[in-house]
Symmetry: C2
Subunit: 112 residues, 2 copies
DNA sequence: ATCAGTTCCTTGCATTGCAAGTAACCAAGG
DNA sequence: CCTTGGTTACTTGCAATGCAAGGAACTGAT
């Protein structure tokens, strides 16, 4: 399934934002949920750079909690800026879906 | 709409393949149709490199026809390899849509 | 002390979208 | 002519993101 990584661009970020909408999660939990939802190859090599990006952009409330098994875990949850980014993503996703539907049903749209 | 170009990655190629499924089209016609379907910012700077990539991969039957207004037009239509690439794209697109639906409806899927 | 497991982060590459610029070809006007 | 402008095609270079691979810090157990 790693054949067309391009299709995932932007999408993975939107989905992680959604997962952090209401719950505080840390890395392993995010990976787990993404995989269960169908992103079966989702990996930490993708997640960590993404989390750092989004944190730098102020999208998160972050909480560090000590772990019995290693370094402290970083728990993430959306800030107001994060929620806004999520909304933007979802709107763009819907537009995109509609455009693709237009192409594949040979209808032209002219709404845009 | 140029805000998140990442979301378009892979998608534009899939859509162009679809447009060339049955008809011979040349650049300006492809741009026109993409725009009408909702990809309103679709541009030649995106299209030409894409066409060359796909042509190199054997995805097209190409026909050059003289133009009264300039250099000969290149008309493109899918080859068998192109059709296969289109099918692959569509399958991946559907998987992706399902996964996103799972994330956004908070359902877990486990089918993948 | 060493080892394995956990958690986090860094580095570097591949791909693609896209802006901007280049080049070839034609017709018509000065 | 030869210049201008429109048409068609291509090139170059940059930005963003996914992801593999490797590394570093912390813990408890051997």
């Amino acid at each position: 399934m790693g054949t067309d990584a391009q299709l995932n661009k932007g999408v993975l970020e939107g989905c992680v934002l959604k997962l952090l909408e209401d719950d505080f999660l840390f890395s392993a939990e995010i990976v787990e949920r993404m995989r269960r939802c169908g992103f079966s190859d989702f990996s930490e090599g993708t997640l960590y750079p993404m989390l750092l990006r989004l944190e730098k952009d102020g999208c998160f409330i972050v909480a560090r909690k000590p772990s019995p098994n290693g370094p402290p875990k970083k728990y993430y949850k959306l800030s107001e800026a994060g929620r806004q980014k999520l909304d933007t993503f979802f709107a763009q996703w819907q537009e995109l879906s509609q455009s693709i539907a237009n192409v594949f049903s040979r209808k032209e749209d002219d709404h845009a």
